[in-house]
């Protein structure tokens, strides 16, 4: 058995529920690899997830794990982080979980810049319920609730995160594992609200509905269409037309919420009241 | 001897009638009475009509709201007209001098110059509730002067303490006249 699987996964919880070819398994493995590389104590890692395919992953990992309600992972994580700032809080959520039903918590946690790493396992579809279009389903693509092609414009998660105030924003993919692991490490270490748009693949629903081929074809598409953010800066809009920009897209430091709250406590205890 | 007072204070939002009843309740509490204070709110913070009330008793207060008031103090005509019907026939109506007492009222009436005192003597409209409180307590004798002064000072901003003590004194004098 892979030593990482042995060390970080709950053996009695496996096998996982993911379909053959699903990208989520790869992303789970990327996360434990990042934790391993950072040498974090398992007791100090807390994984919070919402509802959907992405969010089932929390249960497989041998950390402090909580699988919450649909859209609310970031809000639950906010309570955990404030109450116990020493925990490394990692949120695993999906495109629908984070940006549709949980969109309000996503933007407000970003505004507060509360320290947590939010990994959006983005498969462009509601997989658990059988293939309905999501806020990241590209316009014109199909889902069971978009039988004529979706007329909804889609969210670009890194742009959304940056606009709302996130201080570390990146995109990884299932194909680019080494890069994605490094991004996860940096997101976990970053003192502030970090978001990684983790491009997964859903051959079962999104792929099938949209004639994207099998899992290998979908991952091959990632290989052929992704451009690193550093390279993208040198490319023209025309060259970037059908490209997906990956890597770190935004990073800056500003006051972090739990640190500021601790300062507030110190100030109040110092006799301000 | 048993003591029981059901007092209602009414005016327009922003005049501080709620705070007025809170202060009177705290003064009565300091004198050893049982007290309950409550209010009804309109949605607007300023300008709407506002009613607050206290029950002061030497015994346990079972029902916390006033059905029939022993005393109504009104600072606006609208408040006076609205609540005078719920004053006991042997009760007291305290009204600003500028107000017209409805013909239906035949009981004891005390008219006091609260509004003109606030504008002409103190020149501070914000003191209206404290001036009224000085006069109300002089009429009703709920609490001693010291207990009332302490209750006022505990509830108003520190920087306005002196002004409010003057307001209280001006209010007291209004009844002595």
């Amino acid at each position: 058995m892979d030593p990482l699987v042995k060390k970080y996964f709950r053996q009695d919880m496996l096998p996982h529920i993911y379909c053959p070819g699903c990208g989520h398994g790869t992303l789970m493995k990327d996360l434990v690899k990042a934790v391993d590389n950072l040498g974090l104590e398992k007791d100090q890692v807390c994984v919070v997830s919402g509802i959907g395919c992405s969010s089932r992953s929390a249960g497989y990992m041998d950390f402090n794990t909580i699988h919450t309600t649909h859209g609310r992972a970031i809000a639950v994580a906010t309570g955990i982080k404030l109450a116990k700032p020493e925990l490394r809080v990692i949120v695993i959520t999906g495109d629908g979980d984070a940006t549709a039903i949980g969109g309000n918590h996503f933007i407000h946690a970003a505004r507060r810049n509360i320290d947590m790493a939010v990994l959006v396992f983005n498969n462009n579809i509601y997989g658990m319920t059988g293939g309905q279009y999501s806020p990241t389903t590209p316009m014109g693509d199909f889902g069971t609730t978009a039988p004529y092609g979706s007329i909804d414009p889609s969210f670009d998660i890194p742009t959304l995160a940056k606009a709302a105030g996130a201080t570390f924003v990146a995109r990884g993919t299932v194909f680019h594992t080494a890069k994605t692991i490094r991004l996860m490490e940096r997101a976990i270490l970053h003192k502030g609200f970090s978001v990684i748009d983790c491009m997964s693949v859903c051959p079962t629903y999104y792929g099938r509905k949209n004639k994207k081929g099998d899992a290998a074809d979908m991952i091959r598409w990632q290989r052929d269409h992704c451009v690193d953010s550093a390279d993208a800066k040198l490319m023209s809009p025309d060259e970037l037309e059908d490209k997906l920009i990956i890597g770190e897209t935004f990073h800056r430091n500003r006051a972090e919420y739990t640190s500021d709250y601790q300062e507030l406590i110190d100030r109040c205890k110092g006799g301000a009241q | 001897m048993s003591y029981n007072l059901k007092f209602r204070f009414a005016g327009s939002g922003g005049q501080g009638v709620i705070l007025g009843t809170i202060i009177l309740a705290e003064a009565a509490l300091a004198e050893g009475y049982q007290v309950v204070q409550s209010q009804s709110y309109g949605p607007e913070a300023r300008g709407g009509s506002c009613k607050a009330e206290i029950i002061v008793s030497s015994e346990e207060i079972v029902f916390p709201k006033i059905e029939t008031a022993d005393c109504l103090a009104a600072l606006t005509q609208k408040a006076l007209d609205q609540y005078i019907g719920s004053v006991a026939p042997d009760g007291i109506v305290i009204a600003d001098s500028s107000l017209t007492i409805p013909e239906s009222w035949h009981g004891r009436t005390e008219k006091i110059d609260v509004i003109s005192t606030v504008y002409d003597v103190l020149k501070k409209p914000m003191t209206v509730n404290i001036v009224a409180l000085g006069a109300i307590n002089a009429i009703l004798g709920v609490a001693g002067d010291k207990a009332l002064e302490e209750a006022v000072l505990a509830r108003v901003p520190k920087s306005t303490g002196e002004l409010n003590m003057r307001a209280l004194e001006e209010g007291r004098k209004l009844y002595k006249k």
Binding site: T65, A75, V76, A83, K269 | -
Partner: protein, 379 residues
């Protein structure tokens, strides 16, 4: 502060009592008539090293409370009708995942936005059945400012002891009135903290108990016991299951956790019931109207009394069944169109007539209105 008599608002007493019980986390969203609870929590918590956060919405507030509790902090939120509706899914999660927490609902007139500054008791059934699915829940309704203080402590204690969400059901009348109260001495009440597990063995099962009367000993996150919490039906390990056998064992344990301990949870207030022919049953602030009505009835020679469930859920069913055998008639007085009366009728089982007196227009149900129901059998 203890020993001294102070003038305190119901909403203030809710915060002070909660702090005395050990509340150190508050998440909320502004809503009338509960807002003073958030305001005072914001003022007091940081001074005590605790945390206050104004969340982006009611749902997030409930979620953050769950998170803080999972991390080991006693946590509370406060709201009113519209917000209480929004919190329901996560209240169900707290019941399912056995996360201790206290939800204060200062009731106002509904449905919908209703009358935000006016009193009501229209959320009694929502406390019991507001979230979907069968679930255990405790609800406590205080009738005075001093009872707010002591009962919010009991609410936290029950929440910690039984690992359930406890709904603290106030109404606008109790929330906004001020009374002179004596702050209880800390030696006069008990503060209960959730039980910690024994040393972790190899086969530790977080949700395993010896009997259905017991409560799982779940440690806070970050203390060396790594386990999984989920809103999915789960087994003793906390792992999701769809096995009918495991699911049956799970729901039986969850429901019996309260059912088998009901005597420890239920608290009722009785007034002049010893020789009563007529019992008035009511909750919260209407207990005050009812006592006054009974005093007036007694002055007229009518033997009436008051039975007031302080613990509303679980409903004191046995107590009401017994009461119905002793009195000639029961009057149920509520600030709504009829909710507790449904429970009363269920428990009375025809043993005596039940008269309902309700009011839902935002003005308080007055003593004389209840007196009329006592005298006339008005229906």
């Amino acid at each position: 502060m203890s020993g001294k008599r102070v003038l305190m608002q119901g909403n203030e007493a809710c915060v002070e009592g909660a702090l005395a019980a050990g509340m150190r986390f508050y998440a909320g969203y502004p809503i009338t008539p509960s807002t003073e609870i958030a305001e005072l929590s914001a003022l007091r918590l940081p001074v005590l090293g605790g945390h206050f956060i104004q969340m982006e919405d009611e749902i997030g507030s409930m979620a953050a409370v769950i998170g803080a509790s999972v991390a080991g902090t006693k946590a509370m939120t406060a709201t009113s009708g519209p917000g209480f509706s929004l919190k329901q899914e996560n209240i169900g999660y707290a019941a399912m995942a056995e996360v201790p927490c206290v939800i204060v609902n200062v009731q106002r007139v509904g449905p919908s936005t209703g009358m935000p500054t006016s009193t009501a008791q229209g959320d009694i059934m929502q406390c019991r059945w507001g979230t979907h699915g069968d679930h255990p829940v405790i609800t406590i309704a205080p009738s005075s400012v001093s009872e707010v203080y002591t009962e919010i402590i009991r609410a936290f204690n029950l929440s910690e002891k039984y690992r359930v969400p406890v709904i603290f059901l106030m109404d606008e009348t109790v929330g906004h009135m001020r009374e002179g109260i004596e702050i209880p001495d800390p030696d006069s009440y008990q503060v209960i903290d959730r039980a910690m597990p024994d040393k972790k063995g190899d086969n530790w099962r977080p949700f395993a108990v010896d009997s259905e009367k017991d409560v799982p000993k779940l440690p806070p996150f970050g203390m060396g016991w790594r386990y999984h919490i989920t809103g999915l039906t789960h087994d003793e390990r906390g792992y999701p299951t769809s096995s009918p056998e495991k699911s049956a064992a799970f729901i039986s344990r969850l429901m019996n956790k309260l059912a088998l301990n009901r005597d420890d949870i239920i608290s009722c207030d009785s007034y002049m019931l010893e020789d009563a022919d007529i019992a008035v049953i009511c909750i919260g602030s209407i207990g005050r109207s009812a006592k006054e009505a009974v005093n007036r009835a007694r002055a007229k020679g009518i033997k009436a009394g008051v039975f007031r469930p302080v613990t509303v859920w679980p409903f004191p069913d046995k107590e009401v069944t017994e009461l119905a055998k002793k009195v000639k008639r029961i009057v149920v007085a509520e600030q709504n169109c009829g909710q507790i009366v449904l429970e009363v009728e269920r428990c009375v089982r025809g043993a005596c007539p039940v008269t309902f007196k309700g009011k839902a227009n935002g003005s308080m149900l007055m003593p004389d209105e209840i007196l009329a129901a006592i005298e006339g059998g008005e229906n």
